[in-house]
Amino acid sequence: MSELTNLTIADARDKLKSKDITSSELTEAFLSNIEAANASINAYVAVTADKAREMAKASDEKLSKREGGALEGIPLGIKDLFATQGVHTQACSHILDGFKPRYESTVTANLWADGAVMLGKLNMDEFAMGSSNETSYYGNVINPWRKSGSNEGLVPGGSSGGSAAAVAARMCMGATATDTGGSIRQPAALTGTVGIKPTYGRCSRWGTIAFASSLDQAGPITQTVRDSAILLKSMASVDAKDTTSVDIEVPDYEAAIGKSVKGLKIGIPAEYRVDGMSEEVDALWQKGIQWLKDAGAEIVDITLPHTKYALPAYYIVAPAEASSNLARYDGVRYGLRVPGKDIADMYERTRAEGFGEEVRRRILTGTYVLSAGYYDAYYLKAQKVRSLIKRDFDLAWANGVDAILTPATPSAAFAIGDKEMHSDPVKMYLQDVFTVTVNMAGLPGISVPAGLSSDGLPLGLQLIGKPFDESTLFQLGSVIEEAAGSFEPTAWWG
């Protein structure tokens, strides 16, 4: 690992501006890290080395003239869910074989407009459905972290497992990711990286392959809280192409970092002390409370009584929306086509072969809950429960709470092929128990690395904020980061 690849985005930005380094050098350093590590980590499903070199060269020209955007020359990895023009875009599914969009997603277009360099496309759970990156058509991503003294392969979390692993193993400076039920925050927690899911409507969903449209949000995964603030500033925008994009100007998130948190009111929800939560996670939570208290924040106990219903409601809403969104994959307009005896047979064979097991499971669940006679009992009921979940949070904000502190995940990274997780799909779904409420209510949430388990694996804390108050999350997140320190895996790869 060269020194260049250890730089944060903030440091690299300064060094590029002062011409201490060039984007071409930086990009080469990351390309060689990818070359060395990808066979072991499997974070990238497509490396766009030529494109990266071209973009870096163009950035260097701009930088030499003291021009360029906020991310000029910064090499990034892009989750395979974002449409990138002429480049592999398959949501890591077999059904999108060979798909190369003729357009660019708004989020990635924003990054390139600000001067960022694309290193390639990152592995993920198929169509973002999963919490372990084991459902990808392109194989498992391996967590750069291992238990102390063990060679056992661990999952990086999911669905943005490639994004999180690539950042942790220094195979990019930062990565785009998406979060429908925890897909940014859970992998960030399991890899010792920072990840933020912004408020629903903050990042445009245009050109991002849809999973569950009322929950999907894009956000960054990075090494530090400041880097997340920098990346989110560029990713977020108001976009006429997405009607759910909200007309609020994107603030300078970085300005919030370092501001005193004195007097901020932090809610601690009793309902997040769930059965099966490890003692270590609970202890870490108490530590987090103490850190914020030491920094001058006021800690208050709050109640979010509908917390336990978020996950079951999610497993109606998300599959229902997915079954509708994924209806478009029929072997006609793009991707895989498996011939059949007639058109219906072609559809059925294409979808049977093109979708993996977890995706088929969710489509069937969604089709069932939306089928005639069940809509009211399932989808409508779940959407009503969602209103109650949101109301719980609204009451907390109305009582003067500025942000809420919770654990990010119930446990540290688990083994690839974990038997318990695979014998019962609901067990895997419980990985998202702390994160999914935030999607259901549309709120912003950040996961910040806060410590190591007794096995030496990273654990994260989550801060939940008011709608469009990402700045407060960065402000508080950096306090936790400063108190906890940063965590890096010991390189065993390449």
Partner: protein, 95 residues
């Protein structure tokens, strides 16, 4: 509520996903596990509660009624498994 294998096969038909008997059998168990899990929602009293339709209060955006995009037939058919003269090709659907 729980499902039987016949229901799973019917739902797979609706979803246009081919499944064999063994898969239908397995899916029945898995689907019932998920349906059992979501049954907890029966405990919640939702009388008088409006369903959440938007997480942020915003009136639906409108724009002027005008052509903003188009003329991209080549782009649209570029990724099709089979196309001819900017048409998507599918197996014969009418006799």
């Amino acid at each position: 509520m729980s499902v039987d294998t016949a229901t799973v096969k019917r739902v797979a038909g609706l979803a246009r996903i081919k499944i064999d008997d063994a898969q239908a059998e397995r899916m029945t168990g898995e689907l019932n596990a998920i349906l059992g899990f979501v049954e907890q929602l029966d405990e919640v009293d939702v009388s008088g509660v409006e369903p959440l339709t938007s997480v942020v209060e915003q009136t639906m955006k409108k724009r002027a009624d005008g052509v903003t995009d188009g003329g991209k037939a080549d782009d649209i058919t570029a990724n099709a498994p089979m196309s001819e003269d900017n048409f998507f090709m599918v197996p014969k659907v009418v006799e």
